[in-house]
Symmetry: C2
Subunit: 453 residues, 2 copies
């Protein structure tokens, strides 16, 4: 990070001195990702700076840039420049760029692509959002089963330069149906006379083009794969997903889950690139829904008001807050466990029993702490005469029960959501809190009424 | 998943029929991960079933098993069996297993390992938890800079079988210092007469053994690396981290962040494998701390109690709940943005301005909705005489202000935490909620007092 700031400063000086060969020298050995970060610090000069880069590096830098800068650059390109960049980048990256561009830019990219690339781009664009097809690349190594290892290596040497990975090669029959795979490691370590069908692994993990990309990433993570083949309805190999894209999906899915847990609709754009209106749309629905459900708590308070000692009101926020926190802890743990497949639906009774024990211990400590605090600090030390032994008992007992109920609600609801096909992530803190709030109040006033009677 | 259930049923029948060759046939072509999942369904027979597997497959299955089952198996192994398994698995996996085992098992593993492995294991064990050194493997391909591509390929063919990856090969000088790297792709696509120093990439990204593993994973994700070299203080290459381990780190770090956001101390064990006492220790500190801070709200209510219309109390939970939700949404968005490095500290003013606008729109809608609901439903429809125009105005105005304050607190605190070197994730919903609760009450009672005066 500090190194990049240093380079940014150097670049600024070189730009001011109009020292273009110095700029070229400075950038030529940097990682494409770092170059894109540095260039983006000079938005007004970006088109000039970009043209200083060697062609193959320029294309890699372009892929790493933010959408806004890509759009600026694209509109500054001549047709020749555009073609040079497109020729250097992989189909799946081209598709990623196209998906973010306005219609006229897309049209221009498609017009300038050769027929084969255009078809591949259109095919990928037609797959549903978030499907395996939408994140795959069509540039992979395909081998016939009856060739030798030597021929396979020759084929890789001849065609490998344009492939996104050569480390997993797929063996197909003449109908392009997947028969197995060989890794580059197997090819290198095998006798050159061996036939591919003898060394290939036929126990192959693959997904359908319409499979959710989250499933793709999970399979790749579970089986430690560098690439996962994607087949169409007729089981023909149409593309592969590489591990770098799987990592992006894993990070996106974690972000989406976190957003849902915080009562937001998920977004796939970085925060700073999202407009105020889009953020508002993401947040408003849940805020409104949760506010409406929270009005039940108002009803409950109105119903009991006046019948009970006024001092009891003062502990409502503390009781509801603790309940919400306790329920949130549990629900978030269960939601994450379900997402990582560490917890299965049939574990529900083990979970309930576990949470019951945890909640008794947590509730117990909080209950004792509350009881001691009310009597020792509030009553004895501060001399608050409204705090009687009865009040202290009611509040302490309530907190124990609220914690137990909150943790049980917190573990049951996410599992239930999953069971009926909903996303468990929406059953996180905010939703649990609202439910636990209402239950807490009923328990509190129920105990208070019973004791006073 | 369903397929695995089917296989589990088949296996059960084969076990009952004591058909061992059938079992061998059933399992031999399955993925090691899947075999481990299926075998774990038969905890009592696991030692017998494990011995049916071919040796090389058995070792891979062993690596994928849960710690409990690994321990059971280890204690059932003869020394010869133990050695056979250890010989087949990579050093970093051995270390992962050792870290979870009781002392006597560790001692036995170390005793049975050859001197070289024992040294490598001890070296890795000595690196701090969560450091690059603790997750690296020492089995990588090392090349001299003055050999030809042909010789390099020969070397890979000779030694590659024991290496975790052969796809990135590291070029070192006689002092084992890192000079550059070549990929297997470069080697395969280059002329066999070329010298390694001519084709190697010297612009190499590496980390120190003591670097946080989260940084390792981030670098690998950012630069799309399949492996990242790890060097010691003297810049000597000591190991590499492979992408499959980086993915595990990314998932663990997301889980840790989620746990912190839900007011828990992070845990690195799956939920079902964690004891009730451990879960209690994870959750208790924050619950207690948040409960204590929540008592401030009690003080505030006690102070204002009796001076204000009783009906106002009924809206406290709704106001505080909405404030908590609004603040939580913002804080979680900012925390995740900071974690993914989409947001930097210097963006703080852009963020505040953005959140200010979002919060005005969100607060505005909630304020109007509350005002309409109170007057139309509560007053007109339900005939609640306590709801006056003044009360409706006070409540609605408060909610607007609470949302704005909540969102500002929610975006400022995580950035501030990061600025002073704390983990922003602890500034999530529960913490924000507690602060926003107190502020909400002060605003609410402040407005009410002003209006009544």
């Amino acid at each position: 990070m500090e190194e990049l700031n240093l380079i940014t400063n150097q670049l600024e000086e070189l730009i001011e001195a109009r020292n273009f060969s110095g700029i070229k020298e400075l950038l030529k050995d940097m990682e494409p990702m770092d170059i894109s970060l540095v260039l983006q610090e000079f938005p007004k000069k970006i088109a000039i700076l970009f043209r200083i880069l060697p062609k193959d590096l320029a294309a890699e830098v372009f892929v790493e840039m933010d959408t806004d800068f890509q759009e600026t650059l694209l509109s500054s390109f001549t047709d020749t420049e555009l073609k040079e960049v497109l020729d250097e980048i992989y189909i799946d990256d081209t598709v990623d760029i196209i998906e973010e561009m306005p219609a006229n830019v897309v049209k221009r990219i498609l017009l300038i692509s050769d027929a084969e690339s255009r078809k591949a781009i259109n095919d990928i664009l037609n797959y549903p959002d978030d499907s395996a097809g939408s994140i795959m690349t069509t540039e992979y190594v395909k081998l016939d089963e009856d060739i030798t290892v030597e021929d396979a290596l020759k084929r890789i040497r001849r065609t490998g330069i344009d492939k996104e990975t050569i480390y997993t090669c797929y063996v197909t029959n003449p109908n392009r149906q997947l028969l197995g795979y060989v890794t580059a490691k197997q090819l290198l370590l095998s006798d050159e006379e061996m036939i591919i069908s003898e060394i290939m692994d036929t126990n192959i993990i693959y997904v359908n083009t319409h499979e959710d990309k989250e499933v793709v990433a999970k399979e790749m993570s579970k089986y430690d794969l560098l690439a996962l083949p994607v087949v169409d309805k007729e089981n023909r190999l149409v593309g592969i997903v590489t591990v770098d894209d799987a990592i992006d999906v894993i990070e996106e899915e974690a972000t989406e889950d976190i957003e849902k847990m915080a009562a937001m609709l998920p977004s796939d754009k970085p925060y700073l690139a999202t407009s105020v209106f889009e953020i508002w749309k993401q947040r408003m629905p849940w805020l409104l829904l949760l506010m409406i459900t929270a009005t039940f708590t108002s009803q409950i308070i109105t119903t009991f008001e006046g019948k009970l000692s006024a001092i009891l009101t003062a502990f409502i926020p503390m009781l509801m807050g603790s309940g919400g926190n306790a329920g949130g802890q549990t629900s978030v743990t269960i939601i994450r466990g379900l997402a990582l497949e560490e917890i299965r639906l049939r574990d529900i009774f083990r979970i309930i029993f576990k949470e019951l024990r945890v909640s008794i211990f947590c509730g117990g400590v909080l209950g004792i702490a509350t009881f001691a605090k009310l009597l020792l600090i509030d009553k004895l030390l501060l001399g608050n005469s409204e705090i009687t032994l009865t009040v202290a008992l009611v509040v302490s007992l309530t907190i124990v029960l609220v914690i137990i109920i909150a943790k049980l609600v917190g573990c049951i609801l996410p599992v239930l959501a999953k069971r009926i096909g909903l996303d468990p992530a929406v059953m996180a803190s905010p939703f649990i809190t609202t439910i636990v709030d209402a239950i807490s109040l009923l328990v509190y006033f129920g105990i208070a009424t019973a004791v006073i009677l």
